[in-house]
Symmetry: none
Subunit: 223 residues, 2 copies
DNA sequence: CGGCGGCTGTCAGGCCGCTGTCAGGTCCGT
DNA sequence: ACGGACCTGACAGCGGCCTGACAGCCGCCG
């Protein structure tokens, strides 16, 4: 996690840096507006902490330029106490969160963490198990990087197995999930789906434990 | 048991909260999508009850983001009556169960309990006795760290002995547990299973007390 | 509207591992 | 030493599971 701290007050900057570092961030600092703009525009940060009162180039302007250039990293804006207009402007400029000064370091760290995590949810939401990767946003599946086309039903099955990949899933539970109607199916619809999926995914992905249920293959503790 | 209720209709939310609380849950409510997403992403709940129609941020989107971020708590989705597509989408997004509105509170509570129970087996659910370890998630057995492949019946036998490892289990009780039918079996099916298990586990694991029953080996109270 | 193709449940057939049964053999308690 | 409780290996039937084929359903498109 790489974070850029833009703050001209040396004492605050050093406090911020210390707090964020002890929270596990890799911190880079910058006191000058022009330099900050350049860094944020060219480097990749997971988070920027941006003070608005800066020499040479206003914080809001920097933020607007970044956004205008398509830079989408989360930005946490520090505003002076009660400067309400600044807050509104900050939002308009594309800030993701703001914190009025003075603030407690714990709160800043908490918000920083939340922002980073939230930003993670923006990209493609990937879940993986072994060679299999499913993208829950695009509802797509790929195996060893190669996309595999699956039907809606097959996708549901895979995504459920993926979500509960730590367990063995008994057939009843899968049936309940795929079809909802809890009237006991006496058919082998499930087996059919499994077979068709296996044909697409090849061996070594969908595992069966006779008498127990199904699971995604990399299930560590042996056989 | 901590549960998050995400529901914008105040009346329904309060009914839900009351029902779940009287069922022994600790309830937190949230009517706003953005806030719900944040809570579910940063707090740890044992269950989330999620209504799909929300202001600011759609329930399905929230769910997908949670899953994409690796949040795996059980989620019970509330859908509008007859909105079948919603149900399917909910499953696709990673819901563990869903309930069409309107519903009876008893049913919701029942399903909530079931979900929590199911998810309870998620942490390292290891039970051990002596050198023997049973993983109830993976339904696997290992001896001195070495995985042993057992059949469904053998597994049930072992897990029953494990559960009651403090005492000696008479054969009738085991038969009853394994086969249900209480008509006294005059066969030696049980002995056969025991023998096969002993072959896999080696000596010193399954003990016999002639005339009393079976037990797992390290039986504390004086030999 | 009618044909077409993809999706999916059903059916029949088959494989093979699991499991009860049987026929002994062994061990323990009395 | 005897009887019964228990063990064990062999074996055959069953049932869980797999698979290919087929048909109904539905959306798509001309």
């Amino acid at each position: 996690m790489r974070v850029l701290v833009v703050e001209d007050d040396a004492r605050i900057a050093s406090d911020l840096g210390a707090a964020l570092e002890s929270a596990g961030f890799r911190v880079e600092s910058c006191a000058d507006g022009e330099a900050a703009w350049f860094l944020g525009d060219t480097e990749d940060y997971d988070l920027v902490v941006l003070d608005l009162g800066l020499p040479r180039l206003d914080g809001l302007t920097i933020l607007k330029r970044w956004r205008g250039n398509g830079r989408e990293m989360p930005v946490l804006v520090l505003t002076a106490r009660g400067a309400w207009t600044e807050r509104v402007e900050g939002i308009d400029a594309g800030a993701d969160d703001y914190l009025p000064k003075p603030f407690r370091m714990e709160e800043l760290v908490a918000r920083a963490r939340a922002l980073v995590r939230r930003a993670a949810g923006r990209g493609s939401a990937l879940q993986e198990a072994g060679d299999l990767v499913i993208d829950t946003n695009r509802m797509s599946v790929s195996l060893r990087g190669v996309p595999v086309s699956v039907t809606a039903l097959e996708y549901r099955l895979l995504s459920y197995l993926m979500l509960h990949r730590a367990r063995i899933i008994p057939p009843v539970e899968l049936l309940e999930h795929l079809y909802g109607d809890d009237d006991a199916r006496e058919t082998n619809a499930l087996e059919a789906v499994i077979t068709r999926l296996r044909r697409k995914l090849g061996p070594g992905v969908l595992g069966t434990r006779r008498g127990f249920g199904y699971h995604l293959e990399p299930l560590e503790p042996g056989e």
